[in-house]
């Protein structure tokens, strides 16, 4: 059966051109880049070429790019590294309630270490308020970390405006741009960011390689201690094959940004229109315009997300959900709760994320089948508009605590 992959926010297939670039580095060019002999020096050059490709993709200087093992490591390094290095100046950090767990859990960890964290709320579209940010800034604020674009609902935050406010106050600004790269322009000079996290596997590169942009002169502690790799800032023998792959993927993403984004946006709008026009009792999550070109996120009343995903999977469609049942935890998505959805509604969410290879035919197939799946699951559900959940149900359920 033909598979239709609509979970590009989770990961993307590695582009064949990227695979071709990386393969010789497993065999022919296997040398350790730190070695002084020919095998090492050649590989070192390839790494620096990749660093330049990444730098160009985000308008940075190559000396400001540091490779990491993942986007999560980049987030951890940015937040812990700034916190540890600057704690004499203050121990207050500002972030938002809808960050990726790599940011949220790192902030929670720092709270246990004596730091104070302000979690800015978001509105019903997932946007933070600049006034809230201004009001949250204190004399002892050392770091603001706000994501560029949300991984679940696709909302794009006003990073440039945040950057202006934060810069004026002399505070360090980090953004997790893992979902943004390859989808919207990312320009560190224009955005006034000091640190920015990116990851290869969201832009048709391999898993296991990320990078942190650190603006020249920003005071930061190391996270991974050891050898002198990455200009003494990140120890560990370089993941050569994946670094050159990341460079190639970033170059391709930048080169084709406009056409890929236009293609995804066209199909996203086709998908949103198809769903909103044909399925009753549905809501689009995330900002209607300020959203990633490939992201569509819906909540369907009266049904649960995992059963939608299973039904889609059976007919060849891969998507994701913010339902507790799909997260391995018992709570629905923190992002959907943060935009004000009741837990019961958040359980019925479906995220479909489009990629550069998705076709209009794929989208039409998904919409046609989704109409039937939602109808079937709603017929099976004990709740509907005529029979909403009453208090009696909650009474009976009172003993049913997870």
């Amino acid at each position: 059966m033909k598979r239709i992959y609509l979970d590009h926010a989770a990961t993307t297939p590695v582009d064949p051109a990227v695979v071709e670039t990386m393969l010789p580095f497993f065999t022919e060019y296997f040398g350790n880049p730190s070695s002084v002999y020919t095998e090492g020096r050649g590989v070192k050059k390839s790494i620096e070429a990749a660093r330049l490709q990444i730098a160009k993709a985000i308008n940075a200087d190559p000396r400001e790019i540091y490779f990491t093992g993942s986007g999560s490591e980049a987030d951890n390094w940015a937040i812990k590294g700034i916190a540890m290095k600057n704690q004499a100046k203050g121990k207050h950090i500002i972030t938002s309630t809808i960050e990726h767990h790599a940011v949220l859990h790192t902030c929670e960890y720092l709270e246990k270490q004596g730091f104070e964290v302000t979690y800015l709320p978001v509105d019903e579209d997932g946007l933070i308020s600049l006034d809230d940010l201004r009001n949250a800034i204190r004399k002892d604020t050392i770091l603001v970390t706000i994501m560029f674009a949300n991984n679940e609902i696709g909302t794009v935050e006003p990073i440039k405006e945040i950057g202006e406010i934060v810069k004026e106050k002399g505070i360090i600004f980090h953004t997790d741009a893992v979902q943004a790269l390859g989808n919207i322009p990312v320009d560190v000079k224009d955005l006034n960011v000091d640190l920015l996290s990116i990851s290869a596997h969201k832009i048709y590169g391999p898993k296991g390689i990320g990078a942190l942009f650190i603006r020249k002169g920003v005071p930061i502690d190391n996270l991974i201690h050891g050898g002198a790799q990455e200009r003494k800032k990140r120890a560990g023998t370089e993941n050569t094959a994946e670094i050159v792959a990341f460079g190639k993927a970033a170059e391709m993403a930048t080169e084709h940004l406009a056409e890929n984004a236009a293609h995804m946006k066209k199909l996203r709008d086709l998908l949103i229109k198809g769903v909103m026009d044909n399925i009753p009792q549905v809501r689009l999550n995330g900002h209607p315009e300020k959203r990633l070109p490939g992201n569509a996120n819906f909540c369907f009343d009266y049904i649960e997300g995992e059963s939608i995903l299973l039904s889609l999977d059976i007919i060849g469609i891969a998507g994701s959900s913010g339902s507790a049942c799909t997260s391995g935890s018992l709570d629905p998505s923190h992002v959907l709760l943060a935009i004000g959805l009741p837990a019961g509604v958040a359980h019925g969410s479906l995220r479909l994320t489009i990629g550069k290879h998705t076709t209009a035919e794929d989208i039409n197939y998904v919409v046609d089948n989704l109409i039937q799946i939602i109808e079937r699951l709603r017929k099976m559900s004990p709740i509907n508009a005529d029979c909403p959940i009453d208090d009696a149900v909650f009474d009976k359920a009172a003993h049913h605590h997870h």
Partner: protein, 124 residues
């Protein structure tokens, strides 16, 4: 997390979906906040035998499959027999459930007990 073939069969082609119009025992448990609600309908005859059972469920694949299997298993049983029905009976019949989904089978067993209670209440 992986579902057994029996779970997937019971999710894709669930047995006994819907309401029984002349049901004389109805039980509903769970909450939307938890992500599962199960409503079970029983038709119990004068001899105390469950002649028919059906369900309506809001929940994940395991919740639907547990509802389907549980209703299928209690049809033809007396209410005494059904009263001893345990969640592990559902889990075994489904060929197992992932650890984080065991609560779905618990909910199915509780919904049946709630429906039997409702039947006794209606009779009294």
């Amino acid at each position: 997390m992986e579902y057994t073939d029996v779970v997937m069969e019971n999710f894709t082609c669930p047995k006994h979906v819907g309401e029984i119009e002349d049901a004389n025992g109805v039980g509903q448990v769970g909450s939307p906040a938890c992500g599962d609600i199960m409503k079970i309908f029983l038709k119990i005859n004068g001899d105390g035998v469950i002649e028919d059972a059906s369900f309506k469920t809001f929940g994940c694949g395991a919740a639907v499959a547990s509802s389907s299997m549980a209703t299928d298993m209690i049809i033809g049983k007396t209410i005494e027999e059904a009263g001893k029905f345990k969640n592990s009976d559902v889990v075994d019949a489904l060929g197992g459930l992932p650890a984080e989904k065991i609560h779905c089978s618990v909910l199915a067993a509780e919904a049946i007990q709630a429906a039997i209670e409702d039947y006794h209440k209606n009779k009294a």
